[in-house]
């Protein structure tokens, strides 16, 4: 009689090998260079693809199981949020501006990252890399989707949420993250990994997610906290992929070092510029603030960044070239952005406002060297203009940076009283930049950046031809509803009226 013997369960390592490495076929009738045509032109030399380790050793079967469980929890909470009028539990309707920035500028970036990683999953020859990139591609699409679903409940009640998909391509401040991701996706696979996997996901991600998620928690927004948690366990995997990739490149060949360092310099600076608006969100837009942008930078920029680059020093990597200029900008940028958002608020699908006396006292405390000296006088004057019935709007529009596409709201690193001025010529055409960092990125690959679609100059070309109302239609901006000063907006009135219904008997 045969005894039934229970089959041994595969060890995790063995299972990973069977489910991944065995996908690595050796082609017999095709040339490997033709199957993977983009792995060499960037100049990165790889001798042994099997050296790319995936420390998570996550296989697709367990991936689906984990993610499905997270989805179930996420949608249960989102349902509860909708049924319990979660949109009235936030501290104040000013908080919505932070959410609008997130939906318009960040969620489309998640989707773009998904497209990028899907491409990298195809283009890298190593199987470990392919599998990790494919999982990250699915993660990024899931993040975009859960964010859009979480915020769709706010769209039922408030303005400025409805046109985020059009805004992604057309709205002047949304082309900033869009160009960031377009730049990364149109680069080669190794540069993409440094751009998104390392610089964005590893070096800068805490400056994005921690402030937004803590900000949500401080301001009573359960929906956003929930998608934050749902994404968090993925981020650990993404950060590891980015770090593994950079170590892999550096260990494979010493000739890779200068190329990798150049990308770190470039993508740190691009990432720093893209994340600039987070500073404004933290310092101005959260009714209940978590910490100042300066405090966040001290923790997540200086402390974490210094430790990371100390760790990478053994490969010959140094801190990014723009590090010192970034440090000099920290005490200025949130004020410079908010002043810009306010004076161009006729063209934003979110509200901005003049900080209250309380807000200004807080800003003066958090920015003792800069706020009272440089920025308070401007806000006080803007307050006076409003009181006199001549609310400040700057219809001059703005000079944009050819590389990062931000309005040049920045001052010289060593002179906060002077607008930063950088320009150069390429093939007889003039180009303008916000900083040495952005000018250097342009000069390294001018043929790429001369094609930038800069939204403000485009406004004066066909078919808009400088017609502001036609432009508003085209970007999906409803004048008098989505834009302008928070004070007197529909969002403000509705929130106050609905909240009053919940807390009084009148």
């Amino acid at each position: 009689m045969d005894m039934k013997v229970a089959k041994k369960k595969l060890a995790l390592k063995e299972k990973y090998r069977l489910l991944t490495r065995d996908l690595g076929w050796e082609p017999t009738y095709q040339n490997k260079d033709e199957i993977y045509p983009y792995t060499k032109y960037e100049g990165i030399r790889i001798h042994d693809w099997d050296k790319w380790e995936d420390p998570f050793r996550l296989t697709m079967d367990s991936y689906w199981k984990y993610q499905a469980e997270k989805e179930r929890k996420f949608y249960a909470i989102i349902d509860a949020h909708a049924q319990n009028n979660g949109h009235l539990h936030i501290t104040d309707a000013r908080y919505l501006s932070a959410l609008k920035i997130f939906l318009q500028a960040i969620s489309p970036g998640e989707y773009a990252a998904g497209k990028g990683f899907a491409r990298m999953g195809r283009e890298f020859p190593g199987v470990g890399t392919q599998v990790a990139c494919q999982m990250q591609a699915i993660d990024e699409i899931r993040h975009a989707q859960t964010q859009i679903h979480a915020l769709s409940n706010y769209n039922k009640f408030y303005n400025g949420f409805h046109a985020f998909a059009d805004a992604r391509d057309r709205m002047w401040y949304c082309t900033v993250p869009r160009s960031f991701f377009d730049d990364a996706v149109s680069a080669g696979p190794f540069e993409f990994m440094i751009a998104i996997g390392f610089s964005f996901e590893y070096v800068l991600t805490n400056l994005l997610f921690v402030p937004f998620m803590s900000g949500a928690a401080y301001n009573g927004d359960m929906a956003t906290v929930t998608f934050g948690f749902s994404a968090q366990s993925d981020e650990a995997r993404h950060m590891t992929l980015g770090l593994e990739c950079i170590k892999f490149m550096l260990e494979q060949d010493p000739a890779n070092l200068p190329i990798v360092q150049g990308w770190i310099d470039k993508w740190f600076w691009r990432g720093f510029r893209v994340l600039g608006l987070v500073s404004t969100m933290m310092d101005y837009m959260l009714p209940k603030r978590v910490m100042s942008w300066r405090e966040a930078w001290n923790i997540y920029g200086i402390e974490n960044g210094t430790a990371l680059f100390r760790d990478l020093a053994r490969y010959g990597i140094r801190a990014p070239a723009g590090w010192d200029d970034a440090e000099k900008a920290i005490d200025h940028m949130s004020h410079q952005f908010m002043l810009g958002l306010y004076q161009w608020s006729f063209g934003t699908a979110l509200h901005s406002w003049i900080p209250s006396d309380d807000d200004m006292a807080w800003l003066a405390k958090k920015y003792p060297d800069t706020f009272d000296k440089y920025y308070r006088p401007r806000w006080e004057h803007i307050k006076k203009l409003k009181a006199a019935g001549t609310q400040f709007a700057n219809y001059g529009l703005a000079k944009l940076c050819q590389t990062c596409q931000l309005p040049i709201v920045f001052t010289e690193p060593d002179d906060p009283t002077r607008s930063a001025q950088r320009e150069g010529e390429y093939k007889g055409e003039k180009y303008h930049f916000c900083s040495d960092g952005c000018q250097h990125i342009f000069e390294n690959e001018p043929e790429k950046y001369i094609q930038a679609w800069l939204p403000m100059p485009q406004l004066f070309q066909d078919p808009i031809g400088g017609d502001l109302a036609a432009w508003m239609d085209w970007v999906g901006l409803r004048n008098g509803k989505d834009n302008g000063d928070f004070d007197g907006s529909e969002d403000q009135k509705n929130f106050d009226a609905w909240r009053a219904m919940a807390t009084s008997n009148q």
Binding site: L339, R376, P377, K399, T417, Y431, P446, P457, G465
Partner: protein
């Protein structure tokens, strides 16, 4: 190397003067007057005289600043592409050498109300 690519690659600029239907862009920045968050972007024809640029769009845009009415244009110092520049007010922008996407910066010594308030 103008771009890292797998084959020859030529980009097409999106902001050529030919796209502006006979007009051009001029950037103007009032030095040390940062109530205005960024240099102004002004779209005007190259035949416009320098005086028309100053008295027209530039003066209109400057009004929110408390120093606007105190500017004496005969004493203003000008920079073009960051180099000292003496404009001929009656000549056209083109005759003044102000091309497409030119950056003008003007300095008004002694006038800085919002800066001095600190």
């Amino acid at each position: 190397m103008a771009v890292v690519s797998t084959k020859p690659y030529v980009g097409v600029p999106r902001d050529l003067v030919a796209n502006f239907n006979g007009k051009q862009l001029v950037y103007a920045c009032w030095d040390q007057h940062l109530l205005f968050a960024a240099p102004f972007l002004i779209c005007v024809p190259p035949e416009m005289s320098f005086r028309e640029l100053v008295d027209g769009p530039l003066t209109a845009l400057m009004q929110p600043d408390p120093d606007a009415s105190a500017v004496d244009w005969s004493k203003v110092e000008w920079l073009k592409s960051n180099k000292p520049f003496t404009p001929d007010f009656d000549a056209s922008l083109a005759a003044n050498g102000i091309g497409h996407k030119e950056q003008l910066r003007f300095i008004t010594p002694g006038l800085n109300s919002l800066l001095a308030a600190a």
